[in-house]
């Protein structure tokens, strides 16, 4: 390539390189450096190098303190308590939310995608409706959900009460029980129900994943299903043996993205947190943000939390990557 050609090539690539260096690699390096200092966001004094002290403070256990009955979990049972119990609490919340939300969204997206691929009159409108909440997103959507989930006045509990009322005569007649006094979930005002509430919200905004899976479904050759049907395979077998293996790359992608998003969930937690949840929605990213940018403004410590969160997220996405790689190896071997 001529000198001029090479210059042009670099010129075209330069915006990405500059952007990557300025907004990705640079901040990554800076945050790694910050995590080894006692930098404060509320002080103009020079940050000092503290080695791994931030990581020890985040993950360490104070053996001189009495164990707390309401501590972070069984893995720290016995004497002592974490030097920062909220690190374990927030990571535990993020992991629990991920474990709940990823299977639900994945299964829900797949079911919706399969349903919406059917050639039924009027389904194009349904597809738009399914996708619309994904477009709304953000704080506005969460505020609407918070009202829907209001335990006294919200639409969700009104629907549950209506179901109770409708079922009451039947239950009285058949089982001799009444639905009067049956509890309704307190959703965002309860430590038990706050995470399921968030899963419900997430499940209502799966339009993006549905779109990806529908695109993948369109690429599944119909003759594969037809051949299987000729061999006597039923609908369930065709789905399990033909469609799902063909969808695996898309499922890996959606699962991976959902896992990363769930582990890094912030807006939901920041907007919908309430004292009655007892930190039930304090996620790792939220705790990081509060530590860095609200009191106590510990930037170095928050940077260490960020790297710990990145490490845990890495572990969580490893199975997805392994599954995806197995597929790639299979394809390479098959060709």
């Amino acid at each position: 390539m001529s000198l001029q050609g090479r210059g042009a090539a670099w010129g075209f690539v330069a915006p990405f390189i500059v952007g990557f260096a300025a907004w990705c690699a640079g901040p990554l390096a800076a945050s790694l450096f910050l995590s080894l200092t006692d930098a404060s966001g509320a002080s103009a004094r020079r940050a000092e190098y503290v080695g791994l002290a931030n990581y020890r403070a985040a993950l360490g256990v104070d053996r001189t303190a009495r164990a707390d009955a309401a501590g972070p979990g069984p893995w720290l049972a016995g004497d002592g308590r974490p030097t920062d119990p909220l690190v374990y609490r927030s990571l535990g919340n993020s992991l629990a939310y991920t474990a709940m939300t990823v299977p639900v969204t994945l299964a829900g997206s797949l079911a919706l995608a399969l349903l919406l691929m059917q050639r039924v009159r009027g389904f194009s409108i349904v597809r738009t409706i399914v996708y619309l909440p994904h477009l709304l997103g953000g704080v506005a959507s969460l505020v609407i959900w918070s009202w829907l989930l209001n335990p006294r006045f919200g639409g969700i509990n009104a629907a549950i009460r209506a179901v109770y009322a409708a079922a009451d005569p039947l239950l009285r007649a058949t089982l001799g029980v009444t639905t009067e006094g049956w509890p309704v979930p307190e959703w965002l005002f309860s430590p038990t129900w706050c995470k399921p509430a968030l899963v419900l919200i997430r499940a209502g905004t799966v339009g993006g994943s549905v779109l990806i899976l529908m695109a993948a479904l369109q690429r599944v050759p119909p003759e594969l299903g037809e051949a299987a049907a000729l061999d006597g395979a039923g609908a369930w077998t065709r789905l399990r043996r033909v469609t799902l293996p063909q969808l695996r790359p898309a499922l890996v992608f959606v699962g991976l993205i959902e896992t990363v998003f769930a582990m890094q969930a912030f807006t939901e937690s920041y907007v919908l947190s309430h004292r009655s949840q007892q930190d039930g929605l304090l996620f790792a990213a939220t705790y990081l943000y509060r530590t860095a940018f609200e009191s106590p403004h510990r930037l170095g410590y928050a940077a260490a939390l960020g790297w710990i969160l990145a490490g845990v997220t890495g572990v969580m996405i490893a199975p997805w990557l392994a599954w995806g790689r197995r597929r790639a190896a299979f394809e390479e071997g098959g060709t």
Partner: protein, 472 residues
């Protein structure tokens, strides 16, 4: 097919025509101009910050004044600024304000301080002041020499003594109180009328003097969870956060901490914490979170869902404007007397000067601070009733108008007021106490007050900040 002849270059390589050269120069010039403009836009403030232009004796000086609050606060301080600018034609005051709560405002102040970009004059609340004061020491020295601002030390003695004390750290006066007031109990009298109508027997109206037991009895009578009560249940009392519960804690004879020692322990503290828990869980005179979801204290009180709440003089204007019709009757009562006597918590908003402001701007900032404490501004503040003035002479103006009786109770309360405890890492400890109390108040938590206090004392943060007497 006819072969296409190779195209001849218009000009030999390396020998640009004058026109092409001019175009290149023009392009380079345009890129340079755009680049310089972008750099000026991006880094102009930084440049001016590090290389300030020498002061011109005749030039107009601009100082920055920061505060927080709603529209009424904005309008009040705008008015004060306009008067000041008329009196000082060469000084312009740029009003920087944060709409809403103090947390957001103080967060911004912290970031400004760490960027060495504090406003020249700024309001600060007693609560977060301690943390901020430590931080200000980092950015170029504390605010000292307040006495010399006026040149008249007697002016300080004209301000509320606790207000002065609130902003004095290690013997150094770092800010001056401007406005504030003590916490009392607001009573929505219409709730008691409704309870009387519903129960068919007279429910007494709260009156002073009253004890904690009498307060509890009245709160119980005003609590009616029956939905037939004109549509919605009502509750006797709004469960306060811990800093608003401090008056009760002190009235039991307990305390939280002093500068070094953790003091939230012993029989008095257990009694106070037991009541705090029982108000919500045993006597059930306060609404649980799911009983009035997404409703805050102000709305609950204004709409008659809650009969009593703890609040300061700044709530009066809000209640006056917000409460209408049948709910238009409210009273203000002192904190009930307990075994430890009668106490309440007073809080002050102070004004501080940026220690880095120098020269003519410093003098203008000092003049503006003096102006905020002047008789006309303090009297105007008193008349408006947003808060009590720090200048004691203006308290007479405060106790006027249709709410004079209620306002007089706030003035009386200054005599039995205390400042909230001052200790290191206040905001972190505040968050920890709130978080621990939330857990303690949960229905599933079966700890006694003694066990709760022992757990709180054993928290690593408490152990790091205070002498805890080996209670863990």
């Amino acid at each position: 097919m006819r072969a296409i002849a190779p195209r001849e270059p218009l000009a030999p390589r390396g020998a640009a025509t004058p026109r092409a050269l001019a175009l290149r120069l023009l392009r380079a010039g345009a890129i340079l101009v755009v680049g310089l403009a972008a750099a000026a836009w991006l880094f102009g403030d930084t440049w001016r910050h590090h290389f300030p232009v020498a002061e011109d004796a005749g030039a107009t000086i601009e100082i920055r004044f920061a505060h927080f609050g709603g529209y009424e606060e904005y309008a009040l301080w705008r008015e004060a600024i306009e008067v000041f600018e008329r009196e000082h034609p060469r000084v312009r005051v740029r009003q920087e304000f944060v709409v809403g709560g103090q947390a957001l405002y103080h967060g911004k102040l912290r970031q400004q301080a760490s960027a060495a970009d504090l406003p020249d004059v700024f309001f600060v609340q007693v609560g977060p002041f301690n943390d901020l004061a430590d931080q200000f020491a980092d950015v170029g020295g504390v605010l000292d020499g307040v006495q010399e601002i006026d040149g008249r030390p007697e002016n300080l003695s004209g301000l509320d003594a606790l207000g002065i004390e609130a902003f004095r750290v290690d013997g150094v006066q770092r800010a001056l109180p401007i406005c504030g007031g003590p916490l009392l109990i607001y009573v929505n009298l219409a709730c008691f009328d409704r309870a009387t109508r519903f129960l068919g027997s007279a429910v007494a109206q709260p009156h002073e003097p009253w004890t904690i037991d009498e307060f509890l009895a009245l709160a119980s009578q005003a609590t009616i969870r029956d939905p037939r009560l004109e549509g919605e249940a009502q509750f006797g009392f709004w469960h306060p956060r811990w800093v608003y519960y401090l008056p009760f804690l002190w009235s039991f004879g307990a305390d939280v901490a002093d500068a070094k020692r953790w003091a939230l322990e012993g029989g008095e503290a257990e009694s106070a914490l037991t009541l705090y828990h029982d108000l919500l869980r045993v006597h059930r005179v306060c609404p649980g979170d799911a009983e009035l979801p997404q409703v805050w204290q102000d709305v609950a009180f204004l709409t008659g869902r809650v009969a009593m709440c703890v609040n300061g003089p700044w709530f009066e204007r809000f209640v006056e404007v917000g409460v209408t019709g049948d709910l238009g009757r409210f009273d203000v009562l002192p904190i009930p007397r307990g075994p430890g006597g009668r106490w309440t918590r007073v809080t002050w908003d102070g004004a501080a000067l940026n220690p880095s402001t120098r020269g003519a701007r410093r003098r203008a900032a000092e003049n503006f601070l003096r102006h905020l404490l002047s008789e006309p501004v303090q009297d105007r503040l008193a008349t408006q009733g947003l808060a009590m003035p720090a200048r004691r002479a203006s308290l007479d103006v405060y106790v006027t108008g249709p709410r004079a009786a209620q306002r007089a109770r706030f003035v009386e309360a200054l005599a039995y007021s205390r400042l909230q405890p001052r200790f290191p890492r206040f905001q972190e400890v505040d968050q920890l106490i709130n978080r621990s109390l939330d857990r303690y108040l949960n229905e599933a938590d079966d700890r006694s007050a003694r066990e709760f206090l022992a757990d709180l004392r054993a928290e690593p943060l408490i152990r790091a900040c205070f002498e805890t007497g080996g209670g863990s």
